[in-house]
């Protein structure tokens, strides 16, 4: 791997030197390195591009890294990764995609990740998207995450897209069974003429299924973001979606909430706030000695922390 590869891996997956745990690194549409452990197996799919990740039941506190890096222009890569998380396993999955495009051709990655969560399992899924490179070719990322959770399982998703991605459509679909929880934290910052869209679609099917989605977005310059969420309560359960956005310059954000209660015991909340940085926040930080620009930077970095 060259310096660009290593820099991308560090940025998207925090990989710096030796990796502790199972991993599969994909570069420019091909798997280049893989390591499996006693509890975590990674198998190449035979019918389409991608891998199956099998986490044995009762696995405790292990981590799997599955970063994707694209360093050539003109790459159009679609990958199907399926995760089978065994009963009562507790695992962290570090995904993410980094594109370095110094050409004038577009680079595109579409990661379709499907999670099959067995009873009592706990999964933390961290996904970071990052683009770099001085070429005029667009860096396009369109991740799709599908989640099927069985009784008592829970999943926590953290997604971050702060820099350099020209266009992204991020779609998360989940079907939650009895006593399951899905928490999602999403942070997106767009600038220039970038476009980012997020779609959440969650079905609360089992009793006491819960979901909590927090999306924080900052759209500056001429960038555009859209946030669409749909939470359907089909049983006794709880759904809370919170979308907060800061806009600056000509930035535009659209939030389209849908909460659908098909059961009298479904308790669903959607909150959405869009606006510029509050003047009083700037004033407060300026009274501490920060100039307006630094105050603004602090407010945005705190918001996206």
């Amino acid at each position: 791997m060259n310096n660009t590869d290593l820099k991308l891996l560090k940025e998207i997956a925090g990989i710096n030197g030796k990796i502790n745990g199972a991993y599969n690194i994909r570069r420019n549409g091909k798997g280049i390195e893989r390591h499996v452990t006693d509890n975590i197996n990674i198998v190449t799919k035979k019918d389409k591009p991608g891998i199956d990740i099998h986490v044995k039941e009762n696995t405790q506190n292990e981590t799997v890294y599955i970063p994707v890096i694209i360093t050539n222009g003109g790459i159009d890569d679609t990958v199907y990764n399926d995760f089978y998380i065994g009963k009562n396993a507790k695992v962290t999955i570090i995904a993410g995609c980094g594109i370095h495009n110094s050409t004038n051709q577009n680079s595109r990655h579409e990661g379709i990740h499907t999670f099959y969560l067995e009873e009592g399992s706990q999964t933390k899924y961290v996904e970071k998207h990052y683009g770099t490179g001085e070429g005029t070719g667009d860096k396009v990322l369109n991740p799709i995450t599908k989640i099927y959770s069985k009784k008592g399982s829970n999943m926590e998703i953290e997604t971050v897209q702060i820099k350099g991605v020209d266009s992204s459509i991020r779609e998360t679909k989940a079907v939650l069974e009895e006593q399951t929880t899905l928490s999602v934290s999403e942070k997106i910052m767009t600038h220039g003429k970038q476009y980012a869209k997020t779609i959440f679609d969650v079905e609360l099917n089992g009793t006491n299924a819960r979901t909590h989605v927090v999306s924080r977005a900052v759209a500056v310059e001429d960038s555009v973001q859209e946030f669409e969420s749909r939470v359907e309560g089909n049983n006794l359960g709880y759904g809370h979606v919170e979308c907060d956005a800061i806009i600056k310059d000509n930035g535009r954000v659209t939030a389209i909430p849908a909460i659908i209660a098909n059961n009298v015991e479904a308790n669903l909340i959607h909150e959405a706030t869009i606006g510029k940085i509050a003047g009083e926040q700037l004033l407060k930080l300026m009274t501490l000695g920060l100039n307006e620009k630094k105050a603004e930077e602090q407010i945005i970095s705190g918001f996206l922390k």
Binding site: Q281, M286, L288, I299, S301, G302
Partner: protein, 237 residues
């Protein structure tokens, strides 16, 4: 240490501040009081630069600060605690204290600052400064950001506003302690008799003018017992 000369501020054809002249000495605990709409908070905000006067001059430690920005005044040694503490998303109490001190202080140092406003620090240090904190907690954190700066002039705009009685009682105790800890001058905008009682000097504003300046006993008697022997603008003239 703070001189205000011929200060005027008018909005919607109403004189909010009408030719204010003040000379505030070093190491004093000053309370500015007066009825609602008398111009107290406006005066405090003009000193900090949050509002801009129509005319007049402000000198701080013999330097003119009339045209300095908020952050330049902050750098020159003025701090300001907001009447309504500002809430943030994602900024924790620890982050705010690091910003206030302009140093990468340790959590222990941040805890020490918080303990000065009566907060059990470990419970608060990593909490975001948002609506999950009560009015009293936000107020004390706001005051902590001012104390942590240790500036020559600290201004508190109605520290009692929006807090419950229990928090208010502890706040009074904290201000008594602050008198000893803060080196420099403290200006508090307040309606509360109990805050007036701990002042070295009280300034009474009415209709945008300085009505009276005097020792706390005299002003308290004047306001609360309607027994006024002070002349208008006594000390100021």
């Amino acid at each position: 240490m703070l001189k205000i000369k011929n200060l005027n501020f008018e909005r919607d054809n109403k004189k909010i501040l009408n030719n204010i002249n003040l000379d505030i000495e070093d190491n004093k605990f000053i309370v500015i009081t007066g009825p609602n709409g008398s111009g107290k908070s406006t005066l405090a905000k003009i000193i900090m630069g949050i509002e801009k006067q129509d005319s007049g001059e402000i000198l701080f430690e013999n330097k003119e600060i009339t045209n300095l920005s908020i952050n330049e005044r902050a750098e020159s040694g003025i701090s300001f605690a907001f009447q309504q503490p500002v809430k943030f998303k994602g900024i924790t109490v620890y982050d705010m204290l690091k910003l206030a001190t302009f140093k990468n202080i340790s959590k222990d140092e941040a805890c020490n600052i918080l303990s000065k406003v009566g907060l059990c620090a470990l419970e608060y240090i990593d909490r975001e400064i948002n609506s999950s904190l009560s009015g009293g907690e936000l107020k004390r954190i706001e005051i902590a950001t001012v104390i942590s700066r240790g500036t020559r002039l600290s201004i508190f705009d109605e520290p009692e506003a929006g807090i419950d009685l229990w928090s208010f009682n502890t706040l009074i105790e904290e201000f008594k302690k602050l008198r000893k800890e803060i080196k420099g001058t403290i200006i508090i905008i307040s309606h509360q008799e109990r805050i007036l009682e701990i002042a070295d000097e009280v300034i009474l504003l009415k209709d945008g003018k300085i009505d009276k300046i005097g020792k706390k006993e005299d002003i308290v008697r004047c306001i609360f017992e309607n027994n006024c022997t002070l002349k208008v603008g006594d000390k100021n003239e």
